[in-house]
Symmetry: C2
Subunit: 98 residues, 2 copies
């Protein structure tokens, strides 16, 4: 059962930064832009671009509101995103575990 076909790995998830974002989001109920930025240790620009990609494919949803007169964007992983992540982890295991 040892397959080494890299195309089995979801390309949207398999990016170091997006993988970290997804891993974080599956572990929490929801998270703000700033919280994610700090945990993932990246710049605003990077996070903005990458989390947008996850939104584009509907793996993540966002809601925007104001807290203390400041904008706060909160992100949540979707059911589809959850499934995709699980599938990704399974494929990864198949690839790596001998």
């Amino acid at each position: 059962m040892s397959e080494f076909d890299y195309q089995q790995l979801d390309d949207t998830i398999h990016s170091r930064i997006r993988l970290a974002i997804m891993a974080l989001l599956v572990s929490v109920e929801s998270a703000t832009f700033v919280y994610i930025r700090e945990k993932v240790k990246t710049s605003d620009g990077n996070l903005s671009v990458h989390i947008r990609k996850l939104e584009d494919v509907k793996y993540v949803s966002s809601t925007k509101k104001f807290v203390d007169r400041k904008p706060v964007t909160t992100y949540k992983i979707s059911k589809l995103g959850h499934q995709a992540f699980e599938e990704y982890v399974n494929r990864l295991s198949e690839l790596i575990i001998q």
Copy 2:
């Protein structure tokens, strides 16, 4: 201990195609260009470029010879490559396993 810093993941290894190559190479004594190309299901050009990157950082070594008058390149993972792969898998687990 849940960290989501994506920079912990070795960037040379974390590419779907190079990851597949490394996973294959840790599981065998050595492998030819053609064997890898078939297992990893990629084109000659892609394999050539990516395996060269692994060679550049000394994760993989190669030897070229002629068999039946045809060129055959054989690749092996190096000790450094082995360590890097192990380290990569460990970091990946930390990232993914909740």
